[in-house]
Subunit: 109 residues, 2 copies
Amino acid sequence: MPTNPNEQSKNPDLRLINKALAMICGKWRLYIILLLGEQTLRYTQLSELLPGISEKVLAGELKALVALGVMKRKAYAEMPPRVEYKLSKKGRLALPILNQLQEVGQLFN
Amino acid sequence: MPTNPNEQSKNPDLRLINKALAMICGKWRLYIILLLGEQTLRYTQLSELLPGISEKVLAGELKALVALGVMKRKAYAEMPPRVEYKLSKKGRLALPILNQLQEVGQLFN
DNA sequence: CTGCATCCTTCGCGATACTG
DNA sequence: CAGTATCGCGAAGGATGCAG
């Protein structure tokens, strides 16, 4: 829509916004992403780092984030089972911007 | 919190995250902020730019965003009434980061 | 260990009618 | 014009128990 060359303020794109909101909104979603950061964590480790989250919610959020392409799930055929979660390539690309949201939060302390 | 000099990966701060989420989560909140951007808009203009939003929700979101300190409300004692909304200083400071969320959305198209 | 099924409560959001 | 009041539904999230 840059029909006007001196128009520097681009209209917000509702579709892109909703895409972004889908992966960060909710009580735990963004926190899980930032927590993962560059590391790989197992299901149990995540549940310990997210005190108060219920099993149902944690499993659901992880599944949703994997479906969104933000993170990868790797299950090992062992006994007992072991499952590891890490950010996908795209997830790591988004990480710097998502981290800056904390600075936004700081602004409004 | 940089007690450890070689600690470059900062733990996510749940409090700051929640502060940030409070102002962008929800179906309309972030979109309203980005829409406002640098301009000043009246109540009716906003409702036209947000097709489908109900009166109750729009009024509620505006009130909430003002309470959060993201935007300012200015009412003129005229007849008929006129009320203008614009981002606060802090809101404008946060704007660049919030705009980048659209790039995150683009990543996951 | 990992995670799904069930039940229940709360909250976000929409529709509509009404007011200063 | 700029909202508030009321009603209602569906989704989000918590508690608990069960399963591979």
